[in-house]
Symmetry: C2
Subunit: 233 residues, 2 copies
């Protein structure tokens, strides 16, 4: 019923983006994040233009935008390639999350209103109700949960960085299932986090979020490792 869209929920807006419904940029970007375009695959401008029924110009611009965002790599006179979203990539961005999210959380604890807490509890209720039955829904709810905490942060740069990383991690983790132990941990973390926020324990909440993000990142990494060794072996 309520729509937990995978979009920058009001307040978080990709730097200078703008609502361009299903632009080529978004199409290519999703293809990369979702893994439909493989790592290091060449992005031939004319091909992409044809595939999406446009001229080359918009494609080139989209590729440059993606390059600026780090999803595409350019070599001079050799065009664009898909930046591999591999284990290193994932590790890099979740480690940055471990550094940034606690700071965002610390601020939120000092600013949280009753409405915020009610919203967090409502979302947590939905998360528990869903209980990982629908993984996609869990992902959206979980993102919404954290978004409540970060969306009003004064440091827009940090919030946008978080959001950008979040999107990547979400797309990657969509390929895997949560282990039972991870499920339990997520529930525990969220519940404890709400309690700490209620109690105004900014420092403890920040530490908890640090561990939470760390755990989440490790979990994804382990899934990736398992999946890649399975494929190789």
């Amino acid at each position: 019923m309520t729509d937990f869209k995978a979009k920058p929920p009001m307040g978080i807006d990709a730097i200078g983006a703008s609502t361009e419904g299903a632009s080529i940029y978004e199409l290519i970007r999703d293809d990369i994040i979702e893994g439909r375009l493989k790592a290091n695959e060449r992005l031939v401008v004319t091909d992409l233009a044809q595939r999406h029924g446009t001229s080359t110009n918009p494609v080139r611009e989209a590729l440059q935008l993606l390059r600026g965002e780090g999803f595409v790599i350019f070599a001079p006179n050799r065009g664009a390639r898909v930046r591999p979203i591999d284990q290193d990539f994932v590790r890099d961005i979740y480690e940055i999350g471990v550094l940034i999210e606690p700071a965002l959380t610390r601020w939120f604890v000092g600013m949280a209103t009753e409405a915020d807490i009610a919203e967090l509890e409502r979302l947590q209720g939905l998360i528990e109700e869903n209980n990982f039955a629908d993984q996609l829904r869990h992902s959206e709810l979980d993102t919404a949960f954290h978004t409540v905490m970060y969306q009003r942060h004064y440091n827009r740069h940090a919030a946008e960085l978080w959001w950008k990383h979040r999107e990547v991690l979400r797309a990657v983790s969509r390929r895997f299932n949560f282990t039972l132990s991870r499920r339990a941990q997520v529930m525990r973390d969220h519940r404890e986090l709400i309690e700490l926020i209620k109690a105004g324990e900014a420092e403890k909440a920040a530490e908890l979020v640090g561990r939470h993000v760390e755990g989440s990142g490790r979990h994804i990494l382990e899934q990736m490792r398992a999946s890649s060794t399975a494929r190789a072996g």
Copy 2:
């Protein structure tokens, strides 16, 4: 003699960039960072193309790249504007630096070789020799100093983020002079940092770098504030 170029010193390479000598991208970007293009100024494609003697196509691509990097803001059907590098912007990025640089430092302390330390001491020697006489040179040396520490970090994403932010801060601070107290503090911090690295005191070094970056950011912000109130008053 030695060239401390303001370029991604080997190892740090803007994501997927590539050596494109003085491309339009770089020209526009520098115009923004250096303040030659004012905040929120419209970036009219045809104008830019004419000014730089190219066609509109490369300009459009450059603007998209800059958009992806956060230096330009797009509004649908209304084109591009210069993203204001104002106090909020500077605060945002130095705060992120405060979160990230200590982590980079902590790793470096565990990995530093004698050659690294020698290089740091050499650079610090040059910094003291220059003693802020040539501000530009100081900026380059200081950047080189920190680059030694971060350039080999395994987290390329974090290192690139640092570099990107560094460039902005450097450009902004170029407009101002170091206060005497800040000069002294920089010297103290660097010397103490070298000692901590020698002693392998990763945690203390990380804390020190956190304070150092914080101090540096505050210093720039205060200069900006002073300058803007002076202009307004």
